[in-house]
Symmetry: C2
Subunit: 489 residues, 2 copies
């Protein structure tokens, strides 16, 4: 031998051999089961292609996340998921077998055996799937965690696309009955509780009708028209009574510059034009472009060249800039020009937005190297979109309820990186990554990176601890609001 | 002789000799009178320095316009002005003597013997003198015809500054009683009828308190703080019931781009913040700068370098951009971004205003050679000012009553340059000049040039016949509205 066997090489060899063994074992369990232990083959229900079964409501496993699949087996074993057939078998599996089974199915080509029923209108589920119902009940869209077209994100957010309808409906019901638990931060339980039964069926039919695919493949196929769908062709959910606005502890701030304000609890919130409503003709086209840029700023063909990281406007301004208490655009529009301490000058709205590109979007590191000019298509589109969102808002009203982020009183313990890291690991990392790297579906951003080179720089509003805390308190985790204490935020 | 006496040289010599004779004759009349004809010396009442007399209410003549003075003598002679002392003497004067007397006093150094009474609050007259009351009763400011600080403009608009209080009050009363007539287009009669007696006294006291000076000298002394006075320190006139909006014959246009609109007669007009009201601190300073630029665009130190002619924003947008039916800024602000046929693109408000600089202000011929950039102080100031004027206006409302200029139906006779020239000579030239050259007080613009190199170019809104006609019909002549027929406009 010309080279010495180093300790780690030995480790690699052993691991490799173990993987082969695991693979073989998993394949056997999947296709033949383990008659000695009384375990039936997975394919009996999940089918040979791993695409699941519409008839018995068995989920698609093929090309799902490995960790996600293994975790589900563990959930059956420890009782977080209750299932008369799966639970007894899961109890018999070792942890290594569960890991191996996850890896086995994750490596299979994507497949779907879903056959959504013809009498459920899948289009009726599209709105909640793609937009949610933020203003009505602070309900995030499914795509905000499960990725565009429901292709799944990371190990915590399974693909919904191509899952059998009966499985999806069954799972949503299971969150209601308590037969399924163990979702990270209890998010699905909270979200499911906000849906009507009819809505769960419509949403399930919508996702069951989409093709199963690996995230990276779907990301390549994504048509912008699907990513920013035409709400005018969709059916909005029944209007709900809006929840009471968040109680504010002090004046409403907008990046720290606003005068002491009106109590939002008294005034209710301004309503921008309904999603999908648009002005006519050329301005309407510009508004639609503005919305697309708002949602996909760093990857959009028009605006991408100005972005030096992986951020989108919507990352800080939820519900496409429409959501009260999430620095909504309709409240900002009527408040500029304004003097800003940051620039020590009166800035126009265009300059304010250019500031976002410079700091939050790190334009210096972009292809172009600077924020878009006032005359650029990107600015035209964003201004048109913001202007449209503010339709009817009174010019100069700097105290609109829901403006900016609700301000937190300073906490007794103050800021502390160590305590922050603990909270982050527990409550933030599943979406934003253990190292703040964000979450992607293929190449499409789903959860914004929070630090590192893909994130905003020192000058961004979110870089300011108090601003970030205000945002977090009001809006995080998505759909599971106010589960952080002020101190945690 | 080394040179031949050419015919015109002879003419010049004769004219020169005649002028000397006229001068001598005028001087004699002024200082000694003509006892043979029973004419007392002018100086008996108007004083040796020509500064008039407060005691007997005799006007200042020194350094007034020559043609204006001669015209007044003719008015006494033909009965347009009635005066028990002046009329009989004027009847005895020849036309040449009247011309000579006008020239004599015009050439004297400015002087004033005014002593306004202490018990009349001159500051109470400042508002009407400097701002008028456009929105209340479509009353132009005195300065709009009589020039900044009332120094007089051309031959038709006499200086008011330094005129004795008793003379000014008497003259205003004379318009009321009919003792004075013959004002061009009946403008002063119309304007005077809109004033209360208390207001005439206050305005007279204000002008009597100003120093007499030649226009060119005053123009040099003008302090911007006087030209754009601080309304917050002045007393607004009593609110009047606003006159009924002008009846519109069709939809409200804004440079031809607006949708068919609301009937302004039903809605009344939006009220911008009161003149002189300002936001606090830095934004307030920017708003004040914006107003100053709006009023003095071509001569202002901040904006002048972008202007290639002698135009100001206020020339097309009366009452500092506040007046309904005169393309007011508050209605424009909430209507942008918008698609414009002219540019075939969606334009922001900044671009719309840059268009004014390019076309109406002919920026190409300016010192800088182009319109101000979006980041310039000029744009910051104008945006802040327009935003402030729109305080409370609903974003996106493109049908605000009073927006743009009221549209005229097409007339039966159509457009005709010849008939237009006749109307111009009769009704426009006294202000805008026989050759459209505009009217100035010293170097300060009072009446915008309408054609020629000091005027707007082919691309300006006003260059469009229909837009100009709409503006003219609604707003010209100043203070004497609707005396033009649709066809004349």
């Amino acid at each position: 031998m010309f080279f010495r066997l180093r300790p780690y090489s030995l480790f690699v060899l052993i691991a490799f051999a173990a993987a082969i063994n695991a693979d073989e074992g998993a394949k056997r369990l999947a296709t033949e089961g383990d008659p000695q232990r009384g375990i039936n083959p997975c394919s009996e229900c999940h089918q040979a292609n791993g695409g699941g079964s519409e008839e018995i409501g068995a989920p698609r496993l093929a090309a799902m996340g490995a960790d996600y699949l293994a975790q589900q087996l563990r959930n059956f074993k420890d009782g977080h998921r209750k299932h008369p057939i799966m639970a007894p078998w899961a109890e018999l599996l070792t942890d290594a077998e569960m890991t191996a089974l996850g890896a086995y199915y994750a490596a299979m080509p994507p497949a779907s055996n879903a056959k959504p029923p013809a009498d459920i209108d899948k289009d009726a589920g599209k709105w909640i799937a793609l937009y949610g119902d933020w203003s009505g009940r602070r309900l995030p869209a499914c795509v905000q965690c499960h990725g565009p077209l429901g292709i799944g994100v990371g190990q915590h957010f399974p693909a919904l696309a191509g899952q059998p309808y009966n499985y999806l409906v069954g799972q949503l019901a299971a969150w209601t009955t308590g037969a399924r638990k163990g979702d990270p931060l209890g998010m699905m339980g909270t979200i499911n509780a906000k849906l009507s039964v009819a809505e769960t069926k419509a949403v399930a039919a919508f996702y069951a009708s989409l093709p199963a695919a690996k995230a990276v493949e779907v990301a390549e196929q994504i048509d912008r028209g699907d990513v920013v769908p035409d709400a005018a062709k969709m059916q909005a959910p029944e209007p709900r009574e809006a929840p009471a606005p968040i109680a504010h502890k002090g004046p409403l701030p907008h990046h720290g510059e606003v005068e002491p304000g009106r109590d939002p609890g008294e005034a209710g919130h301004f309503a921008p034009p309904a999603r999908g409503e648009k002005p006519e003709k050329e301005l309407g086209e510009m508004v639609a472009l503005g919305e697309a840029i708002f949602m996909h700023t760093y990857s959009h063909e028009v605006s991408g060249k100005y972005i030096g990281n992986d951020q989108v406007c919507e990352g800080c301004h939820l519900d496409a800039g429409r959501l009260a208490d999430s620095a909504p655009m309709w409240a900002s529009w009527v408040a500029y020009p304004a003097y800003r301490k940051k620039t020590k000058a009166v800035n126009t709205m265009i300059e304010r937005v250019q500031g976002c590109f410079t700091y939050s979007m790190n334009a210096q590191a972009s292809e172009v190297g600077h924020a878009p000019a006032a005359e650029s298509r990107t600015i035209h589109a964003l201004m048109s979109y913001m202007y449209w969102l503010a339709t009817g808002a009174p010019t100069g009203d700097k105290k609109m309820a829901g403006r900016g982020y609700p301000k937190l009183a300073e906490t007794e313990q103050g800021f502390d990186p160590e305590r922050g890291a603990a909270v982050y690991a527990e409550k933030c990392a599943i979406c934003h990554g253990a190292n703040g790297e964000g979450g992607y579906a293929g190449e499409e951003l789903v959860f914004p990176p929070l630090w590192g080179e893909k994130s905003y720089n020192w000058g961004a509003g979110m870089h300011k601890i108090s601003t970030a805390a205000n945002f977090i308190k009001a809006n995080m985790p998505l759909g599971n609001f106010l589960t952080l204490t002020d101190q945690e935020a």
